[in-house]
Structures are given as structure tokens and as C-alpha cells.
């Protein structure tokens, strides 16, 4: 074991790992929040199994939470960990490869008995050797379980409840390693356990004892110092997950647009938190229907849009598949509708808790008939707020369904969020009744400039009309199967979606303005791509990033940007869906691809390696 050193770092990655019942998500969240309070940039990513409670101590039950703290801009939760907290051998085994060679591993040594090792499928009694950990890796065995028991021996709690507090001992210990004031942690605990004073008292005692334990074994431990972030613009900040930010984006848009918010949804991992968050907001008049299935989720939303609400449905890939036919109805009936797909690994049930970008082509094309709609994708957890808000604006102003392609990485992950002001957000002017209208209203009466149909809803006097999934006469709005009329309507619906491009921002490029290589990404990979591009720029490499949030329609300057660069590489967490889409939109460009379909985000190192190779070619 090395002697005590203080390591100053710009960025440090910590991974908390244990059984899915060990409270690692809470520990990680608390630690992230109190680091953010101290002025660090943060980016977090929970990585949990689909089993709710797999057998204790087994490899299948390991749940993790990774956070990256930085004094500079932090774009990702980091690749490899500087510090791993492993509550048992299984957690150690699953995460050992993800620790830097010079990293620190804190283990609960009480949980490394022979039976524990067997459960984690270790063959020998020395797991550290068996895993081939580098000699420079520092192992800190802490008797977490027994110390927690000792700490709470006067509390008269049963053994199970006592052991449930051991994550707080770990938190206290980590607070010491990172020179975090334990009072801040206590403050968070006070909020969390407001209504459970006994549990609060126990947790506070354990967290303080964990911190003190760190101090007492001071001599043998490396500690870290990360300065305050100086990059971050001044203002009020909080830490927000992508799913919560999405829900709040809808709420903000509803208020800005003067609409009531409706969500029809069926529970599905990893999107359910959006339903939870909106179900909480009855105080803001949000109506949520937990529907009988995915189809009813979108169909109730379509009904609410028909009634005049800002209507949304939230789901993940398999649910989007079930909603396809109803999406067609929303396109045909020209209803404003926001569909949130928090993408996960597919196909079929696939990898329900893991992240992927494999629903892009489904979102763009997965319907019968010529069925264009708007597709947008957020870049960061807090950016989910802006994208959700934009999706609502586009849906309401253009009378079209909009699909938001979020993903498990963004939805479950969190990042710093500078609190917005509603007054500063872009105005939303929903389609409404025509101002002056003397004809007979029908579902095809539209503003010819942008092809947006006027929105009359049940209850509007004198605007009774019939709408539906059958083709309509372009002028009269009545049923029509006339050949030329159908083609006119197909074109009109496409033109309406294309016209959205007139009211979205131009695509920007970050990084070296004279780059030889343009990296193209979209959606949730922004953090990793930007980190890789920044790192290469710092090393003097000429690389730039065009990261897309508007997928369909694309920003109007897309072709111009792409054609400017000698080399282009499209990076995405699928087998090349955006690349193939771009080939159809901006032709005669040689698109290199970097693809990964492992249910995991990119790592910055694999990206820089790829870009370096491309630059050398």
C-alpha cells in the first residue's frame, strides 16, 4: 500500500458498485450533489441490472453508479474509474476492468469471505490476484459491515436495518477521500429522510463515523483534490436526470403555450421515470393516464390532442413499435403530439436497462404509407429539457407528431443544469382557429405558407368537422380516394414537416474550425464525442464535431457543412443508421463510420483512437 499522497486532478471518476439492494444509486447521487454544491462540474451514469433483486452477491445483481467530477467542463461520466467502491466480490469482479491502473479500490472486506467469493465465481481465495489487478492499483480494505454494526450498536435496530446503512459508511469514507465536508451530506440526508427521524439519525451517525474512519487511517490513503469549476457560467444550478428534465420540458412548454399537459403512458424501462415525474405534478394540472397498454398510451394522447391539450406519450423501443399505427393516425389526422422514446438495447426485449441509438430508423420510417414526422434528439441529460420544450413547440406550431429520441444513458444519467427562466424561453404559438374564416370548416383548412392546418377542437362553436385516418379531399376535407388528390395530400404532409426547418436553428460545428476531420454524431453521444474532440484539439489535432439535435428535418445548412470537410466520420451506438440516413439526405459524400452496439456508451479513448487513425489515413 502506498503512503499518503494528495493527488490534484482536473477530473476524477468514481464508481460505486454493489448489490442492487445496497443503495449504490443513492450513495452516488448524494456524493454527486454535494460535489456539485462545492463547485464541481458533474456527469453521472447509473448502470443497473434488469433484475430487481438478483440473488445477493452474484454477478447478475451488480448495480453501479458512476460520476465524473471536474474543475473544467465535464461532458461524460468518464471511461475508467479513479476510485471504485466495491461492496462485495461480485461488484469487484464486474468492475475491475473499468478501473484505471493507478486507481484506488475500496472494498467491504467483511464481504470477502469464502462463500462470498464463490457466489462471485472466484476460483481462488485471492480475488485481487485472480483479477490480475495492476500492482499500482491501491486496494483499501474497509470493514464496512462490522464498522457499521459497531457504529449503530446503541440504536436498538435489527441486523438487516443496520446493514442497510453501510452504504452511508462508504459515503462518509469517500467524502474523506475527496475532502468533502460531511455536513453537506448530512444536509441532503435531512431532506431525504425528513419523515423518518430514526432512519435519519442512524444514517447521519454512520456517515460521520465513515468520515472519521477515513481520518483515522489517514496515513495509508491517497486523497484527491479537485478545484472548483471555472468554466461554468454563473448562476443557480441543480443536478437533473434526463428523464426528469424531459418531463419538466413538457411542463414548461405547456405553461408557455397556455395549454394543459396530458401524458398517456404505459410503464417501460428506461422511460417510466417520465410518467412518475408527471404523475407527481397534479399541482400544475398535469393529467396522466397510466394506460392499459402502449397503444392506449398513444391513443389516449391523440384523444387529448384532439381535445386541444399539449399531449405526449412516453416509451422505449418496443413500445414505439406498438405505437406505429397510431403514429400514422396522428400524421394523417395532423395532430400535435410528442412521443418520447428513451432508447434501450434491442431488438425485441433486448437489453432493457442498457443504452443504444438503434431506434433511429424506426422513428424515421417505421410506419405504413408515406408517413413523415419530426424527429429530434437531446445531447445531454439537462439538454433533455430544451429538446422536450422544442418538441412541444414544433408539435403545437406545426400540427405534427414529434418523436424525441432520448436514451437510457441520458434518461438515467444526470448533469448540472442551470435553472432556466420561463420568460426567457422561446415563445410558443400553437396553431389555433383561423382568424377570419367564412367557409365551412374542415380538417384540411390550412395556412398555405407552412401547410399547418388550423386547430379546431370539440367545444369550438361552429367548427364541427370530421377527422380520421382515411384520406381526405385536400379542399373539402371529406373522404376521398381520388388518385391525384392522394398524391397531393402525401406531398402536403411532407411539405408541412419540411417547413419545420424554417424555424429551427442552423447546425453548428464545435472544435477546430480548420479541421481535416468532421465528426458527426447525434443525440446522447454528445458528451463522449465532445470530450474526444476537445482532447484531440488540445493535442493539436484538427478535428471538429457536428452534433445533431434536429434529425428530421435536418437543419438547412447540413449539406453545406458536411461537404466542407475532407473527411467525415459518423459515430453512433448502432450499426450505422444515421450514416445511412445522411447518405440519402446529403449524397455523394464518403461517410466513414464508427459504430458500437454493446449496450454501453462510447469511451473517449476508443473515439480518439479512431479519429487519430482516420487522420493518419
Amino acid at each position: 500500500m502506498a503512503n499518503k499522497t494528495i493527488i490534484e486532478k482536473e477530473e476524477v471518476v468514481i464508481r460505486f458498485s454493489g448489490d442492487s439492494g445496497d443503495g449504490m444509486q443513492l450513495t452516488g447521487t448524494l456524493f454527486s450533489n454535494l460535489s456539485a454544491i462545492l463547485g464541481n462540474e458533474i456527469s453521472t451514469f447509473p448502470d443497473y441490472p434488469s433484475e430487481i433483486r438478483a440473488p445477493q452477491g452474484t454477478l447478475g445483481g451488480v448495480s453501479g453508479f458512476q460520476v465524473c467530477l471536474g474543475s473544467d467542463k465535464v461532458y461524460t461520466p468518464g471511461d475508467k474509474a479513479d476510485v471504485l467502491v466495491a461492496m462485495n466480490p461480485a461488484a469487484l469482479k464486474v468492475n475491475a476492468k473499468g478501473v484505471k491502473k493507478t486507481g484506488v479500490i475500496v472494498v467491504d472486506i467483511d464481504c470477502f469471505r469464502k462463500t462470498d467469493l464463490e457466489k462471485a465465481e472466484f476460483a481462488t481465495e485471492n480475488p485481487f490476484e485472480e483479477l490480475g489487478l495492476s500492482e499500482s492499483t491501491q486496494i483499501i480494505p474497509v470493514p464496512l459491515s462490522s464498522m457499521t454494526k459497531e457504529s449503530l450498536k446503541d440504536f436498538g435496530m435489527d441486523n438487516k436495518s443496520v446493514l442497510r446503512c453501510k452504504n452511508m459508511f462508504a459515503l462518509g469514507f469517500i467524502c474523506f477521500l475527496f475532502n468533502r465536508d460531511v455536513d453537506k451530506a448530512i444536509h441532503f440526508l435531512e431532506n431525504k429522510f425528513k419523515k423518518k427521524p430514526d432512519i435519519l439519525k442512524a444514517n447521519v451517525k454512520v456517515v460521520v463515523d465513515g468520515f472519521n474512519y477515513g481520518q483515522n487511517i489517514d496515513a495509508a490513503v491517497t486523497t484527491f483534490r479537485i478545484d472548483k469549476s471555472t468554466e461554468t457560467p454563473k448562476g443557480k444550478y441543480t443536478n437533473i436526470s434526463g428523464n426528469k428534465a424531459t418531463a419538466w420540458g413538457l411542463i414548461a412548454a405547456a405553461q408557455k403555450a397556455g395549454k394543459e399537459l396530458f401524458l398517456g403512458s404505459y410503464p417501460i424501462t428506461p422511460a417510466t421515470d417520465i410518467l412518475h415525474e408527471l404523475a407527481l405534478r397534479k399541482d400544475l394540472g398535469v393529467k396522466t393516464v397510466q394506460a392499459e397498454d402502449e397503444i392506449a398510451g398513444i391513443c389516449t394522447a391523440i384523444g387529448a390532442a384532439y381535445a386541444g391539450d399539449l399531449a405526449a406519450t412516453s416509451t422505449s423501443g418496443p413500445g414505439l413499435a406498438l405505437k406505429s399505427e397510431a403514429l400514422g393516425l396522428a400524421v394523417m389526422a395532423e395532430m400535435p403530439l410528442v412521443v418520447i422514446d428513451v432508447m434501450r438495447g434491442g431488438p425485441s426485449t433486448g437489453l432493457p436497462t442498457k443504452t443504444e441509438q438503434t431506434d433511429l430508423l424506426q422513428a424515421l420510417y417505421g410506419r405504413n404509407g408515406e408517413c413523415p414526422l419530426v424527429v429530434v434528439a437531446p445531447s445531454t441529460p439537462s439538454g433533455c429539457f430544451d429538446t422536450a420544450y422544442e418538441a412541444c413547440r414544433i408539435a403545437l406550431e406545426h400540427m405534427t407528431p414529434v418523436i424525441i429520441l432520448s436514451d437510457a444513458f441520458l434518461g438515467n444519467g444526470s448533469s448540472l443544469w442551470k435553472l432556466p427562466k420561463l420568460a426567457d424561453l422561446r415563445p410558443i404559438t400553437p396553431s389555433a382557429l383561423p382568424a377570419a374564416f367564412d367557409g365551412k370548416f374542415n380538417a384540411c383548412v390550412r395556412n398555405e405558407a407552412d401547410k399547418v392546418r388550423y386547430w379546431a377542437k370539440p367545444g369550438d362553436e361552429g367548427f364541427m368537422h370530421r377527422n380520421g385516418g382515411l384520406e381526405k379531399d385536400a379542399v373539402k376535407g371529406s373522404l376521398s380516394a381520388a388518385p391525384v388528390n392522394h398524391e397531393t395530400m402525401v406531398r402536403t404532409r411532407a411539405e408541412k414537416v419540411a417547413a419545420v426547418a424554417e424555424r429551427i436553428p442552423m447546425q453548428t460545428v464545435e472544435g477546430d474550425p480548420d479541421a481535416d476531420l468532421l465528426v458527426i454524431g447525434w443525440g446522447g453521444t454528445y458528451g463522449h464525442l465532445m470530450s474526444a474532440v476537445s482532447a484531440m484539439n488540445k493535442a493539436g489535432k484538427k478535428v471538429a464535431l457536428a452534433h445533431f439535435n434536429y434529425i428530421s428535418p435536418l437543419p438547412k445548412n447540413t449539406a453545406e457543412i458536411i461537404r466542407k470537410y475532407k473527411k467525415v466520420v459518423v459515430c453512433e451506438l448502432n450499426s450505422g443508421q444515421f450514416a445511412s440516413y445522411l447518405r440519402s439526405q446529403v449524397e455523394n459524400v464518403h461517410y466513414n463510420q464508427y459504430n458500437k452496439v454493446q449496450g454501453q456508451p462510447f469511451t473517449v479513448s476508443e473515439l480518439t483512437e479512431c479519429f487519430t487513425k482516420l487522420l493518419e489515413e
Binding site: 392506449a296 389516449t300 384523444g303 387529448a304 386541444g308 364541427m464 370530421r466
Partner: protein
């Protein structure tokens, strides 16, 4: 008196159902019932799924939404939840409602959302040109069952009661008076009202309900139930229903010492649905088929409960606007 006539609920569209189709009669009943109930056409929305009957919204002078197969129930649920002030009628057929839309049907009934659900039951798929439906009798021969079906049909009342339905009524397409009567009752009932309309498909299943629909024998083979009235039927109004042990039995007034006093009185408001179920499941030749409002009980409606809960939470919460919501965040200055 309502200020409306049936005409106020008609659109200018040419009605395209086959001549002789039962749908013509049912839409007339609906429009008459709407006029009688008196909700303005612009406060009325008619939502349908797919099938012959689901074309109905196009012929209405109200707001209308022709959705997709089986999903009218879910669209109507969203509409009514979003705006409880709109009177919503859902038009559906035996295939739309009980096959592809079966799940939505039982859930709208379970939620007791205030919809008037008109189930057009002609025991056949008409729009796809003649396949058996979930209500076709076992052994029914159709294009998709050339040797007869081998499966038991649904009886809609069982699904409705199984889903804890609060309103169930039935009428024959050819019986305009009872049709209008049950539809008015359905519209006035707060909650999910299921009206099973037995109608004829003149092309693919002509005469499916012939045993009960023929004018000469109809009074003997059906009984129109009315709340608070004796369960008496028959051409001579001399037949009635009594309980025999745990079962219903047909008796003749004046025979075996039976008087009118012995005949059961219909209680559509009874919370327990056991007798309603027995009445709804009666079938020939031994028993008359029950028409009229079989069950009509009061219960909390979904959309009202949703609105009430919102008001309750609003009253207690400090969060009134999005900015208030932001103020609930644990924040720090950077």
C-alpha cells in the same frame, strides 16, 4: 324540451352503408337520442374505430373522429379525460370492440369513464367481406370458417359486468323506440354506458337476429326491461319472469295461480349485478332475450376523479407555476 332535432346532428355527407343495413336504423336512433338529450352538436364528439359501423362519425353534424381499428375506446378516453365538458359517443362493432379492441373495452368499462359506447353487434366482419367475429355463434359458417367455427363466442354483457360495468342496455336495430330510449338513458348515465345494438348485416349475415327481430313474434321472444316496472312481456302481456330457486323462469299470469304481484320488478339500480347478469344472458327458445336498460348504477366516474384529485393537490401545493417548480430544486450558485 330540447332545442334540437335529429337533423341538427346530421352531416351533409352521403351515407354509404348497404341498403337495408342495420346501421341506417341505428344512426337514426343515435341522432334522435342526441336531439332528445339536447347537448349542442359542437359540445358533442363521436369517436369510432374501424369497421362498417365506425364510418358513422362522417355522417354526424357533430365533432367526429374516425380512428384506427380497436382504438376508438382509448382515443375517446383521452378526449374525455382532457375535456370532461364534451359529451363523447364511441361507435364500435363486434370485431372492433371485442377482438382487436377487447383490452381497451374492458378497461374503459373498468375505469367507468363517462362515454356512451354503442356496440354494433351483427356477429360478422362486414367491411372485410364476411369473416366470423368474436360474437358469431359456435359452428358459424363464413369465408374464414368454411367448415364452421370451433370457438365459443363472447357475450358482451359478461365482459361488461366482468369489468364491473355500471351501465348495460340492449336494443334491436328495428326497434326504434327502444333504441332511442336506451341511448337517451346511456347519455344520461354518468360513467361508461354500454349499449349493445343487435343489428342485421343484410349482405354477409342476413337474419342473424331473425329469431327475435321478426315483428310478429318479437313481443313473445324479447322482454323490454324498465327500471321499477314488472318484468312482463308477450303479445298479450301475460308472460312474466319469476325466480325459481337461483334461476329465472317464465310464467304465465293467470295460470297456476300466478298473479302480476308474483312477477319480478326490474331494479336496474341494484349494486349487485347477479340478477342483471342473469337477465342479460337469457336466450331462446325457453327464455326471452332482454332488451332495454338492464343495469344503470351510479358510481364515481374516471374523468371526475382525475379532475377532483388535481384540485385537491392544487389546493395543498405551493407549486402553482413552472417557476415554483424550479424553486423546489436543491440548488447552488456557481
Amino acid at each position: 324540451m330540447s332545442q334540437y332535432t335529429a337533423k341538427d346532428f346530421k352531416s351533409d355527407q352521403y351515407v354509404r352503408w348497404c341498403p337495408g343495413c342495420g346501421d341506417h336504423a341505428v344512426i337514426n336512433s343515435i341522432q334522435k337520442a342526441m336531439a332528445e338529450v339536447g347537448v349542442a352538436p359542437d359540445k358533442t364528439a363521436v369517436v369510432s374505430g374501424i369497421g362498417c359501423s365506425s364510418r358513422l362519425p362522417y355522417y354526424m353534424g357533430t365533432y367526429g373522429f374516425h380512428t384506427i381499428h380497436g382504438r376508438g375506446a382509448a382515443v375517446a378516453t383521452g378526449l374525455k379525460t382532457a375535456n370532461p365538458d364534451i359529451t363523447v359517443w364511441q361507435i364500435t362493432g363486434d370485431g372492433d370492440c371485442l377482438a382487436i379492441g377487447g383490452n381497451h373495452f374492458i378497461h374503459e368499462v373498468r375505469r367507468n369513464i363517462d362515454l356512451n359506447i354503442i356496440l354494433f353487434n351483427n356477429q360478422i366482419y362486414g367491411l372485410t367481406k364476411g369473416q366470423y367475429s368474436p360474437t358469431s355463434k359456435k359452428g358459424f359458417i363464413s369465408k374464414s370458417s368454411p367448415f364452421g367455427t370451433v370457438e365459443e363466442p363472447f357475450r358482451p354483457a359478461e365482459l361488461c359486468f366482468g369489468a364491473r360495468g355500471t351501465f348495460f342496455a340492449r336494443a334491436l336495430d328495428v326497434d326504434l323506440q327502444t333504441s332511442v330510449e336506451v341511448m337517451v338513458a346511456a347519455a344520461r348515465h354518468k360513467g361508461a354506458s354500454v349499449v349493445e345494438m343487435l343489428l342485421n348485416c343484410v349482405i354477409f349475415n342476413d337474419g342473424a337476429h331473425k329469431w327475435i327481430s321478426e315483428r310478429e313474434t318479437r313481443a313473445d321472444r324479447t322482454i323490454v326491461l324498465r327500471h321499477g316496472e314488472k318484468m312482463i312481456f308477450g303479445n298479450n302481456r301475460d308472460k312474466g319472469l319469476v325466480l325459481d330457486g337461483f334461476n329465472l323462469k317464465v310464467v304465465t299470469i293467470g295460470q297456476d295461480g300466478i298473479t302480476e304481484d308474483d312477477i319480478l320488478t326490474h331494479d336496474a339500480k341494484c349494486a349487485d349485478n347477479t340478477l342483471h347478469m342473469k337477465l342479460a344472458l337469457m336466450q331462446g327458445p325457453d327464455m326471452p332475450v332482454a332488451m332495454g336498460v338492464i343495469r344503470d348504477v351510479d358510481a364515481d366516474t374516471y374523468e371526475e376523479a382525475v379532475a377532483r384529485q388535481i384540485e385537491e393537490v392544487k389546493a395543498k401545493s405551493k407549486v402553482k407555476t413552472f417557476d415554483d417548480l424550479l424553486a423546489t430544486c436543491e440548488t447552488w450558485d456557481m
